[in-house]
C-alpha cells in the first residue's frame, strides 16, 4: 500500500486527493478483498462440492441449496464460490501477460520510434481491427479449448492497449528534458529506458493493469459464455451464465454468477476509477479548478 501510494503521489503530488479518502475506492477495495478471501477459503465456505451432481436438478433457490441447483444438480452457490478460484487468478494472469507484452512492445515503439514504432503500431492496428472472436476461436481450436488458451488468445487481443498507452507515455517522456540531460551525461539508450524511464512508466502501468483486471474478467467470462473458454466441469462464471441463458425458467443458474462477475468487475472499476483520478495528470489538472 505504501508503494502504491508513492507511485500515485509524487509527480502530481498536489493535485489528487488520496484515493483512500473516497468511499467508492474503499467499497471497491473491500469487495475485492472479500472475493479474494472467498477464493482462498472456498473449500471452507462452500456448503457443497461444486462438481458433485448430488441434488435434484433445477431446484429453485432456497432450502438446502441457497441459490438453487443447475441442470446437472450441482449447487449454484458452491460453484460461484469455487468460480473465484478460476476467474480471479486467470484474470490476473491475463493482465500480467498482456501488460508485459504491451509494455515491452510499447516501450520499444515509443522510445526507438521509426520502423520499430511503425511495426508495433501496425500490429496493434491489426489486432484492433481484427474481430477478437475469430482470434479467440482460432486459438481455442489451434491450442485446444480451455481457459489457459483463452488467456493466451486474449493476451493477443489485449496487449495493444497497453502498448499504445506506454508508447504515448514514452513519446512524451522521450522528449522530456531529464532524458536529454542523462543522455548528455553519457547514458546509453538502454540505460535511459531501464533506469530513467522505467520508474516513470511502471507506476501508471501498474495502476492501469490493476484496473484492467475487471476488464479481463469480462473478456474471459465472455469467451467462456461463448463456449470458447472454460471446460467442464470447471465452475466458471461466464459458462454458468451461458447455461442459465438456455432456460429462462431456471433464472437462478445464470443470474447469480452474472451478479458475481458484476460485483468483481464493479469493485475493480470503483477502485480503478479513483486511482486513475489520482493518477492521470489530465484529470488531476482538471481537478485544479474553475468556476
Amino acid at each position: 500500500m505504501r508503494t502504491l501510494r508513492r507511485v500515485l503521489s509524487p509527480a502530481g503530488a498536489d493535485a489528487g486527493r488520496s484515493p483512500w479518502s473516497r468511499p467508492l475506492a474503499v467499497v471497491g477495495a473491500v469487495v475485492i478483498v472479500l472475493w479474494v478471501l472467498v477464493a482462498l477459503a472456498a473449500p471452507l465456505l462452500a456448503p457443497h462440492d461444486p462438481n458433485a451432481q448430488d441434488f435434484a436438478r433445477l431446484q429453485p433457490p432456497g432450502g438446502d441449496t441457497l441459490l438453487g441447483t443447475d441442470g446437472l444438480g450441482r449447487d449454484v452457490l458452491s460453484r460461484i464460490l469455487y468460480g473465484t478460484r478460476i476467474t480471479l487468478p486467470l484474470a490476473v494472469l491475463l493482465v500480467v501477460l498482456a501488460t508485459t507484452v504491451g509494455t515491452v512492445l510499447g516501450a520499444v515503439a515509443g522510445y526507438f520510434g521509426r520502423w520499430a514504432d511503425t511495426v508495433v503500431m501496425r500490429l496493434a492496428d491489426l489486432v484492433f481491427a481484427f474481430p477478437g472472436i475469430i482470434l479467440a476461436m482460432a486459438a481455442a481450436a489451434a491450442l485446444g479449448p480451455g481457459l489457459r488458451n483463452a488467456v493466451l488468445a486474449l493476451t493477443v487481443v489485449m496487449w495493444p492497449s497497453y502498448a499504445r498507452v506506454v508508447r504515448s507515455m514514452l513519446l512524451g517522456l522521450r522528449e522530456a528534458e531529464f532524458v536529454s540531460a542523462t543522455r548528455l551525461l553519457g547514458a546509453s539508450a538502454r540505460r535511459t529506458l531501464v533506469v530513467d524511464l522505467r520508474p516513470n512508466v511502471a507506476g501508471p502501468v501498474l495502476v492501469l493493469a490493476a484496473l484492467e483486471v475487471g476488464n479481463a474478467v469480462l473478456l474471459l467470462s465472455g469467451l467462456s459464455f461463448l463456449g470458447l473458454g472454460a471446460q467442464p466441469p470447471d465452475a466458471e462464471w461466464g459458462a454458468m451464465v451461458s447455461e442459465g441463458a438456455r432456460n429462462f425458467d431456471a433464472w437462478w443458474i445464470g443470474v447469480f454468477p452474472g451478479l458475481a462477475i458484476l460485483t468483481v468487475v464493479l469493485a475493480f472499476n470503483f477502485l480503478g476509477d479513483t486511482l486513475r483520478d489520482a493518477l492521470d495528470p489530465r484529470t488531476a489538472r482538471a481537478l485544479g479548478g474553475t468556476p
Binding site: 481484427f130 498507452v165 504515448s168 465472455g222 452474472g258 462477475i261 468487475v265 484529470t283 481537478l287 468556476p291
Partner: protein
C-alpha cells in the same frame, strides 16, 4: 466481447500529428487509403493463416454426417473451394478474387460471402448505430452533468451508474434484460427485427429504421424501434459508461482552460459557455472513444445477437468461425477491418470539423 479500448486520451495528439503531416485532402485520403489496404492485407493474411493452422476441416462442418463420408461429395466440395491447392496458391487466388470484389462463397450458406455480408452487416450496423446514439446522448449528457456538479451528489451518482455500465457483463445483461423486460413484463420484443412475417420496407440503406422512414411507413418504423430498443440498450450499457466517464474527464479538463474562464469573464450565460465553449473542445476525445466504442459495439454483438435472435454479423461471425468457414471468416475480418478504417476516417474528419487547427485546407 467488448474489445479493450485503447488510450483515447493519447490518440488525438497522434491524430493531430498525422493530420498535420498531411498535405491537403487528396494526400490525406491517399495515405489513409494506402494504410487501409495494407491493414486489410494484413488481416486477410492473419485470418488465412489462422483458419488454416486450426486442425479442423471445413468440410466436416459444412457437409452432413452422411455426405462427409461420401468421397465424391467431399471431393466436389474441396474442389469447389480450392481446398486442395497449396496454401500460398489459395491465398493468391483469394487475393486475386478480392481485387475483383469477389470474396468467395461461404461454405456454410453456399452463397457469395458478399451477399451474406450484405444481409448480415446492415442489421448489426443498425443495432450498433442505435446503441451508439443512445450512448452518445446519455453519455455526453451525464458526463457533462457530472463534470459540472463535480464531487457533489449528482457526480457521485453518475459515477456509480457509469461504472456499473462498464462493469456489467453484456451477455448477462442481455439475459437479464430479456428475462425482465420481455418475459416478465412483456414491454419489449426480444426476437428479431420485426414481428413474424411482417414484410420489410423496400431496401434502400438496409437499415430498417431508415428504410421504413424513407418508405414513409411510420408503423413499420415503430415496430422496428420496438424490436431494436432492448438489444440496443443492452449493447449500449458499456459504451454509455465509457462515454460518460470520458466526457466527464474531458469536460473537466476543458473547464480548467483559460478560454473558459475568459468566456465566463465575458459575461456570457452559463448555458452558452457550456454548449459553445466547453462542449466543443471536449468533444475531441469523446469522438475518439466513440470511434473505438463503435468498434467494440460491433464485437459486442457477438454476445448479444443470438439471445435476441438478431440476424446480424455477430452471429454470422460466430457461426462461421466455429465452422471454420474460411471465406466467411475472411469476409467478416475484412468487413470489420474496413469498418475500423472507415470509423477512423470519420473520426479524423470529425476532428477537422470540430477543431479548425486540424482542419484540412
Amino acid at each position: 466481447m467488448s474489445a479493450p479500448v485503447a488510450d483515447p486520451v493519447a490518440a488525438p495528439a497522434d491524430r493531430r500529428e498525422t493530420a498535420r503531416r498531411g498535405a491537403g485532402l487528396g494526400g490525406f485520403l491517399l495515405r489513409r487509403g494506402g494504410a487501409g489496404i495494407l491493414l486489410v492485407l494484413g488481416i486477410t493474411l492473419v485470418a488465412f493463416v489462422l483458419t488454416h493452422v486450426v486442425p479442423g476441416d471445413p468440410a466436416a462442418a459444412a457437409l452432413g454426417q452422411r455426405a462427409i463420408e461420401d468421397p465424391a461429395t467431399v471431393a466436389a466440395f474441396r474442389a469447389q473451394y480450392g481446398l486442395d491447392d497449396p496454401l500460398w496458391r489459395q491465398y493468391v487466388t483469394y487475393l486475386a478474387n478480392l481485387v475483383h470484389g469477389d470474396l468467395g462463397i461461404s461454405q456454410q450458406t453456399r452463397r457469395p460471402v458478399l451477399t451474406d455480408l450484405g444481409d448480415y452487416l446492415p442489421p448489426t450496423i443498425e443495432l450498433a448505430l442505435v446503441a451508439i446514439v443512445i450512448s452518445l446522448v446519455l453519455g455526453v449528457t451525464l458526463g457533462t452533468l457530472a463534470a459540472l456538479y463535480r464531487d457533489r451528489w449528482p457526480d457521485q451518482l453518475i459515477r456509480v451508474v457509469s461504472l456499473a455500465g462498464v462493469s456489467v457483463p453484456t451477455f448477462w445483461l442481455a439475459l437479464t434484460a430479456s428475462l425482465i423486460f420481455s418475459v416478465r413484463l412483456g414491454w419489449f420484443s426480444s426476437t428479431g427485427q420485426l414481428d413474424p412475417g411482417y414484410p420489410r420496407s423496400p431496401e434502400v440503406t438496409g437499415l430498417l429504421l431508415v428504410d421504413s422512414l424513407l418508405d414513409n411507413d411510420p408503423f413499420t418504423f415503430q415496430m422496428a424501434l420496438h424490436h431494436i430498443l432492448l438489444p440496443a440498450c443492452v449493447l449500449a450499457a458499456y459504451t454509455v459508461g465509457l462515454i460518460t466517464r470520458f466526457t466527464r474527464a474531458s469536460v473537466l479538463e476543458v473547464l480548467g482552460n483559460d478560454y473558459v474562464r475568459a468566456a465566463h469573464a465575458k459575461g456570457l450565460p452559463r448555458r452558452t459557455v457550456i454548449l459553445r465553449h466547453v462542449l466543443r473542445p471536449a468533444l475531441v476525445p469523446i469522438i475518439t472513444v466513440s470511434g473505438l466504442a463503435f468498434g467494440s459495439l460491433l464485437s459486442g454483438t457477438v454476445l448479444v445477437e443470438s439471445i435476441f435472435s438478431w440476424p446480424g454479423l455477430g452471429q454470422y461471425a460466430y457461426k462461421s468461425s466455429l465452422a471454420l468457414d474460411l471465406p466467411a471468416v475472411m469476409g467478416v475480418s475484412i468487413t470489420v477491418a474496413v469498418v475500423y478504417v472507415v470509423i477512423n476516417l470519420v473520426v479524423d474528419v470529425l476532428y477537422g470539423v470540430i477543431d479548425p487547427r486540424i482542419r484540412l485546407s
